[in-house]
């Protein structure tokens, strides 16, 4: 007879939640590491995302002040035309600033590159500039006894050894340093430059004579509109932007509104946040090893309870559901704690460093980010716990009455493996789908899964080797090897948890080291030491002669340079073009353009043909191959670029592959000379000095500043130092995020060692009873942990190096250099952590008296 229908219906699910909560009342013993791992990973993800959102929101909320108006129209080389001016005036109050690079010179002959910002008396229309000592704008910048005033950043005072009251020369004018510029409300919108800021008046800018036809001056006009509460609503702002575009389609200006203050900054921020989020995700995955360990321990510890439940009517899948529910509850608690901590980070940053940040922070509690963090936490917990908890299905009830129990071994049932795979796939899908750069997120996810599988293989291989190593006559060595391969050994936990963290650390350390090495990679006589901007076409010959005279043996390269903005590509307006991620930068702001009779040095024609040197037909243009590809352009397409307020339409004649490392000056766009005929331009001159001595560079810079006051000298060494400082700051943030992953590794490792302690104690007690001294036991533990740590470190260095090599060679496209010191430091650290943590546990084990343990049995 078959079972009555009522008995085959599953009525055992309803009390699962009650049972789970009852069981958790007993405390979180064995689940604390799991809880911490989830909390840390979620805190890292929610923290990074919340901070990025607070920055973006701050930018949005304060957009009007940061932009300096409701709308801003920026032009290079030229000011607004009378029509444009009239049009904008009809919409609100206008204020224009001019920004240009220049040299500040002092009586001693010393000079420094500065970022000049020339303002009108009404500046700033919104927000306030902070001067120290505090004074009015007129007092700071006005002309007194034939000398203009300037407010400069502290850095300039330090660079040129100046104090307030001293006089400097900029171009053809003298300036008294009246006050220190502490902050400008519109700093972000004007961008961060290569030198310290010098604030001067526009009358003073005229006096410097730096503004010449073709010189790289950017004129930015802000419109402050009126509205019901003193400001227009968003639709009015959008209407102005639309109208401006329709009325002046060929203006070639960079038009921004307060709704979109700095799209490139926002995008860079999102990308950086994305990178840090992936690092946070890595820490969650490392924590997943802790989750799996906790799940394994849970089934072992709760064996009796699970068997009793089965004895009184719970099904196999019912007890797994119960275990999973308990894990989900703990994961939820961990994820909630992590989300709370992560959400608090922007508030803490605002409170601690708010006044130091150039961007206003607008911290807020973002339910969507908290939801994202919870989803990451729960999916990680599920992905790593379903399979080990699935073993509860087959816990035999007969374990309650006798020891001889036949148990299902090997893999958990297929349904649990499928469940774990599904949760893992959902985790990857979540990471990829919520990422602004899906291909990179997918790559990182793939690499993590690959590293995970590789680490499992390493653990398996290590255990296999330990089992196959010929028997040694040294007992300690033999016992240590046995501990590595015996069932329930620490090997997989150590290798997996520490291996992933170390791989990430080695990869980031090597990428960082390679970037720094590349920044400082210079070859005297080949690598330019200087770029000179704004050398007027008429002065170019004299300037080059001057350089040759001052520095015999100097290698000079000169190229005409203008700035232009893409308007149309292949017949499509630039707004409608969807560039690939890699070349999106080309459509933002303006690009340097040049013209040439012959292909520039360091580039190779890969499609189409170069024009004859006496070409006089319709305008032609040559484009860098990768950019053309990213913009979907082919030879023969028409490219319209606005240069100096004029739309220049040219046919794409050829594509160039540029070796950017050749140090020759190269531009994305090179026109046939006739295309830009008659346009005023300045020359960009590079100079590679025969000697790398800093003194020679300083001497040349001072001489140039004296003889050609309008020429801005960009010292490559200084620019690289600035970039390196920025890279170091970013690297610090990346290290902090990776640090969370490493902390999780250590937590997981500590948890695995603690869970293993009881078994260790049993082994050690028996060995002590059999006559092993503490010295021999210590040696045994030491050998075991050293072998595990060394194997893991070796993998971490190898995999991390491989990842760094790939990024450096493929993505950054420069030669990879292996940094032994960085790799050894990471490997040594991994070894030290394993041996250190292991020996702390061993010391506790060894200090326990055998009798005390035996009494407990």
């Amino acid at each position: 007879m078959n079972a009555p229908a009522a008995l085959t219906r599953d009525r055992g699910r309803a009390p699962t939640m009650r049972f789970a909560l009852r069981d958790l009342r007993g405390g979180l013993a064995g689940l604390r590491i799991f809880l911490l791992c989830i909390a840390l990973g979620v805190a890292a993800i929610v923290g990074v995302e919340s901070l990025a959102r607070a920055l973006n929101d701050g930018l949005g909320r304060e957009g009007r002040v940061v932009l300096g108006g409701d709308a801003s129209f920026s032009l290079i080389h030229r000011r607004l035309s009378a029509d444009e001016q009239r049009f904008l005036e009809a919409h609100g109050s206008l204020s224009t600033i001019a920004t240009v690079r220049g040299m500040a010179r002092v009586a001693s002959g010393d000079a420094a590159l500065i970022e000049i910002k020339a303002v009108e008396p009404s500046w700033p229309l919104l927000g306030a500039a902070v001067f120290a000592p505090s004074m009015s704008l007129d007092d700071a910048l006005g002309e007194r006894d034939g000398v203009f005033g300037a407010a400069v950043e502290e850095a300039l005072l330090a660079r040129l050894n100046l104090k307030l009251g001293d006089v400097i020369r900029i171009g053809e004018a003298s300036f008294a340093l009246r006050t220190v510029l502490v902050s400008e409300p519109d700093r972000l919108a004007t961008g961060v430059g290569l030198g310290p800021r010098a604030l001067i008046s526009q009358a003073a800018l005229d006096a410097t004579q730096l503004v010449q036809p073709g010189s790289l001056v950017r004129w930015t006009t802000r419109v402050v509109m009126g509205g019901p509460n003193g400001a227009p609503d968003n639709s009015a702002v959008q209407a102005l932007m639309g109208q401006a575009k329709r009325t002046f389609p060929e203006a070639g200006w960079d038009a921004r509104s307060r709704l979109n203050v700095s799209p490139d900054f926002s995008r860079d921020l999102d990308r950086f946040a994305e990178f840090l989020t992936l690092a946070g995700l890595l820490s969650l995955v490392v924590g997943g090893v802790g989750v799996a360990n906790a799940a394994q321990g849970f089934v072992d510890r709760k064996r009796a309870t699970l068997a009793i439940l089965k004895a009184i009517g719970a099904t196999g899948s019912g007890v797994v559901a119960l275990a999973l529910l308990e894990f989900a509850i703990v994961a939820l608690i961990g994820a909630l704690a992590g989300a709370a901590l992560g959400s608090a980070i922007p508030f803490a940053v605002d409170w601690l460093f708010g006044s130091l940040l150039p961007i206003p922070l607008a911290p807020s509690i973002a339910p969507s980010l908290i939801g994202l963090g919870l989803a990451y936490g729960l999916l990680t917990a599920l992905a790593f716990s379903i399979a080990p908890l699935g073993r509860a299905h087959d816990v035999p009830v007969t374990t309650l009455i006798r020891d001889l129990v036949e148990e299902r071994r090997g893999w958990p049932r297929k349904r649990y493996l499928a469940g774990a795979a599904l949760a893992g796939a959902a985790l990857i899908a979540l990471a990829v789908l919520t990422s602004p750069q899906r291909s990179i997120a997918a790559m990182v996810a793939g690499a993590t899964v690959g590293a995970f599988l590789a680490l499992r293989l390493v653990a398996f291989g290590l255990a296999y080797l330990a089992r196959r190593t010929p028997q040694s006559r040294f007992v300690e060595w033999r016992m240590a090897l046995a501990a590595i391969h015996k069932p329930g050994a620490l090997t997989p936990s150590v290798v997996l948890s520490l291996g992933l963290g170390l791989t990430a650390l080695v990869a980031l350390t090597l990428i960082d080291a390679n970037m720094r090495a590349e920044l400082h990679d210079s070859e005297p006589g080949v690598t330019p030491s200087f770029f000179f901007l704004d050398v007027r076409g008429a002065d170019a010959g004299a300037f080059v002669d001057f350089l040759k005279r001052e520095t015999p043996g100097v290698k000079i390269s000169e190229t005409p340079m203008m700035r232009g903005r893409f308007v149309q590509l292949g017949g499509r307006p630039v707004e409608k073009v969807k560039p690939s991620d890699k070349v999106a930068w080309a459509l933002e702001g303006d690009r340097g353009v040049t013209f040439a009779e012959k292909p520039p040095e360091g580039s190779e024609i890969v499609a189409g043909e170069w024009w004859p040197s006496d070409y006089s037909g319709p305008p032609l243009v040559s484009m860098e191959e990768e950019v053309a590809e990213g913009l979907g352009l082919h030879v023969g397409d028409t490219v319209v670029v606005n240069v100096l307020g004029r739309d220049i339409s040219a046919k794409l004649a050829n594509l160039r592959k540029v070796n950017w490392r050749s140090f020759a000056i190269n531009f994305v766009l090179v026109y046939s000379p006739n295309a830009l005929q008659g346009a005023p331009y300045t020359e960009l001159v590079s100079a590679a000095l025969p000697s790398a001595a800093p003194d020679a560079e300083l001497t040349l810079m001072r001489a140039v500043a004296r003889q050609f006051p309008a020429v801005a000298s960009v010292r490559v060494r200084e620019a690289m130092d600035n970039i390196e400082t920025l890279v170091a700051k970013l690297a610090l943030a990346i290290r902090a995020a990776t640090g969370v992953a490493l902390t999780t590794s250590v937590l997981v490792l500590a948890g695995a060692l603690a869970a293993n302690r009881r078994a260790r104690l049993a082994d050690a007690t028996i060995l002590k009873i059999l006559g092993a001294t503490r010295g021999r036991l210590t040696m045994m533990f030491l050998i075991e942990y050293a072998l595990l740590g060394a194997a893991t470190a070796a993998f971490g260095v190898a995999a991390g190096t491989l990842a760094a090599y790939w990024v450096v060679e493929r993505s950054m496209q420069f030669d990879f250099v292996f940094d032994w010191r960085a790799a050894l430091a990471a490997a040594g650290g991994g070894l030290a952590i394993t041996v250190g943590l292991g020996m702390i546990g061993a010391w506790r084990t060894l200090s326990q008296k055998p009798a005390a343990y035996l009494r407990e049995l």
């Binding site: 007879m1 079972a3 599953d10 439940l309 009184i312 719970a314 309650l400 009455i401 001889l404």
Partner: protein
């Protein structure tokens, strides 16, 4: 048609692998009538506990057939077996096996809750009163004496009103006086409810209280002596 409470035919079971394989039950045939109390005695390793496990559907025989109340256990899948056990079979272990994180009341209510009973707690409370623990409802196992824990285990086994109560050395971990009280309850309550009792014990005095005693030797049911034989 009236089915026997337990019917086993040709039951064989071996455990372990290779050289470690042990033949535990050999061609066991056994029938227990409804309402009957049967004592199972035998030396350690003779297979008596395993016989109980097979009777409870906790172990599947290599060969042979087991019917409880006319239901062929071999025909039930694992989940159906679990639900069948929850409703028809009560088990009392030597080591009590209460769930340490649940109170006495929760332990007793657990099988009813698993079976989806809406009045689980009321019935559990009443059952605990029956075994004299009405004032210990909210105590955890660790707060109860051994005798009290075994009474909770008995209440848990009896609460779903099983038709078969299986007990494996129920007094093995208790002192004599406490054990006797438990045994009194174990015989009294199921009998009043018409349940069948299968009891494994080393204690011949205890076995003698059963309607019938069977002896296991080397995995075989060796004899089925008449009721009053063993004292």
């Amino acid at each position: 048609m009236v089915f026997p409470a337990v019917a086993m035919r040709g039951v064989d079971l071996s455990l372990g692998r290779g050289a470690a394989r042990v033949h535990i039950l050999r061609d066991v045939a056994l029938t227990i009538g409804k309402g009957e109390a049967v004592g199972i005695i035998g030396a350690s390793g003779s297979g008596k506990s395993t016989l109980l496990m097979i009777m409870a559907g906790l172990e599947r025989p290599d060969t042979g057939e087991v019917e409880i109340d006319g239901v062929k256990l071999g025909a039930l899948n694992e989940d159906a077996l679990a639900r069948f056990r929850g409703q028809r079979i009560g088990i009392v272990f030597q080591s009590f096996h209460l769930i340490p994180t649940m109170t006495a009341l929760e332990n007793v209510a657990a099988p009813l809750e698993l079976a989806g009973a809406s009045d689980a707690r009321e019935r559990a409370r009443a059952e605990l009163k029956q075994v004299g623990l009405g004032d210990r409802l909210n105590h955890y196992p660790a707060q109860l004496s051994g005798g009290e824990q075994q009474r909770v285990a008995l209440a848990r086994a009896l609460c779903p009103r099983p038709s078969l109560l299986i007990a494996d050395e129920p007094t093995g971990n208790l002192d004599e006086t406490t054990g006797r009280a438990i045994i009194d309850m174990m015989f009294d309550l199921p009998t009043r409810r018409g349940a069948t009792l299968a009891l494994v014990t080393h204690d011949s005095a205890l076995a003698s209280r059963c309607d019938r005693v069977i002896r296991m030797r080397s995995g075989r049911v060796e004899e089925t002596p008449p009721v009053a034989v063993s004292v």
